[in-house]
């Protein structure tokens, strides 16, 4: 199964850049035909690579959270990471510094900072109680998430129409990039986060048998929660900074793959990396071709898929 996913991911990366509003042929690209080559190397390939990395990061974070909270409906967004990132971006847009402060686009660092601040706040809130249980983390995350959303609404009220439009559009997510700068920036975060999760695979497997049992085997639960929280929030923070919040990938991909690959994280984690990447590449492909020549923001597409997915989950649960 893993081999299949690997092939799917590779196929997606190879084929997707060739498809789009303006179709280009591989022959043209390899020949060095200027338009085709420019589209392929500067626009399409970086975009596809970014989609691959983003999808991988989102899916593997979703997996980590679902195991940690022993709740199949958990997502990094549940803990307010995306709301924090969005708040950072919204503040930057409101202050009109998003485009340039000292000539540097500030929206990315602002949203990264927002994501980290939200995570720190959630961790801090949850750690104050001596019983650092997962439900405390969840409550803290929901509190932070709702507060950020409220502040975002307030800032939108205070903004003029241009700023508001920009905010709303940013929050729809988008993978349109030029050049490899963003891809290279995101790469270490995704690799690092995935590595950290993979290294915790035994602990994550143990969590499936219960927290008490895991602790009796020697798992340091507090440390594990912090590790996963840190790995995922850094990864998600970086991804949201570049691509905006893209929801539901972290929810849908682990779910679907779990039924094929099983629950063992040794296989499920790499599967999510490959499957998530391929999934988002395909979503992005659909997003930029389905309403050609206009481009649908990929976040809108994943959100549209999310609703029916939840319904499908519900139907599945009823029938079990």
């Amino acid at each position: 199964m893993l081999a299949l996913l690997f092939l799917a991911a590779v196929a997606a990366v190879l084929i997707a850049p060739l498809l789009g509003t303006q179709s280009i042929s591989l022959a043209d690209v390899l020949r060095g035909e200027p338009t085709a080559a420019a589209i392929f190397w500067q626009l399409r390939l970086p975009r596809v690579l970014l989609a691959l990395l983003t999808g991988a990061g989102l899916a593997v974070s979703g997996l980590g959270f679902q195991t940690l909270f022993r709740n199949d409906l958990a997502e990094p967004y549940t803990l307010g990471i995306a709301s924090g990132a969005a708040l950072g971006a919204v503040i930057a847009l409101r202050l009109d510094v998003a485009e340039s402060l000292l000539g540097l686009p500030l929206i990315a660092p602002a949203s990264f900072a927002g994501a980290l601040a939200a995570t720190a706040l959630v961790a801090g809130l949850a750690m104050r109680r001596r019983s650092d249980s997962t439900s405390t983390l969840l409550l803290a995350g929901i509190a932070v998430s709702l507060s950020c959303s409220a502040i975002i609404l307030f800032l939108q009220y205070l903004s003029d129409s241009t700023q508001t439009f920009r905010m709303v559009r940013w929050m729809m997510g988008g993978l349109a990039v030029v050049g490899y700068g963003d891809v290279l920036w995101v790469l270490p975060w995704v690799l690092g986060g995935t590595a950290m999760l993979l290294l915790s695979r035994w602990e994550l497997n143990l969590l499936l048998t219960g927290e008490e049992l895991a602790a009796s085997r020697g798992v340091d639960l507090v440390r594990l929660r912090l590790k996963i929280l840190l790995a995922t929030s850094l990864m998600i923070g970086a991804l949201v900074a570049v691509a905006g919040p893209i929801g539901f990938v972290g929810l849908m991909v682990p779910h679907i793959l779990r039924r094929q690959v099983g629950y063992d994280h040794l296989f499920l984690a790499p599967a999510c990396v490959l499957g998530g990447g391929a999934f988002l590449v395909l979503c992005d492909l659909a997003a930029r071709t389905v309403m050609a020549p206009a481009e649908l923001p990929v976040g809108v597409l994943t959100a549209l898929l999310g609703g029916p997915f939840f319904l499908w989950l519900l139907v599945l649960r009823r029938n079990r």
Binding site: L199, T209, R217, G218
Partner: protein, 263 residues
Amino acid sequence: MTALLAARGLTWGLAWGTGGRPILGPVDLDVHRGECLAVVGPNGAGKTTLLRLLTGLLRPAAGTVSYLDQPFSALSRRALARRIAYVPQLRPSHVPLAVEEVVLLGRYPYLSAFQMAPLAADFQAVAEAMRLVGIEELRGRPVDELSGGERQAVFIAAALAQESELLVLDEPTIHLDARHQSDLAKLLLRLKAESGRTVVLATHDLNLASLLGDRLLALSGGKILEVGTPAEIVRPDVLERLFRARFEIVRGGERPVTMLELS
């Protein structure tokens, strides 16, 4: 004879608004090597709390617990897990793994994050554990498909895979029907005979305690009421003090059998 596990002044639950009186303790107790110690007592006596303290899951508010003279505070979590294996009473209702995978997870104290796969020694321990418990034919089955008794056996096998000298069980036979209770009791007796492990178990079932325990520990209101052989504890006067209910001895001897007296 050094005690395998020694607790001195063990106290827990001081800060819970009980007016300065702890929920458990102070408790002094020794667990001897190779024995089976059965902890009995009414609901709320603190059996589970005591077991959690003895396995290092809870940190005592006061007092110390030591394993072969090494205090728990000096042992890392994994080191402790290599010495003590715990089978808790409550577990998630849905464990989406196969039997073999669950038993393999018992090897966690020996696994490093960087190994690609478990070593031969790990698989050997798993095979041995499954053989001792008698669940080899179930190895590939999903745990969720098993009956309550079989599931319990799987978790005991996982605890055995930890290759620890001490095995701690919290209410192992609760919710099991007679057939499975019998299987489990026989398993525990076999374990004692074959592997020489030390066992501490907490149970509501006085007769099980009398059958399996070399010593019984009567716990009430967070304090030790009495410690002694089954014949010394399973007596109407002791049991009445412990449970505030009347019991009659149906069969005497070294391992008495008792029943509620409802006259």
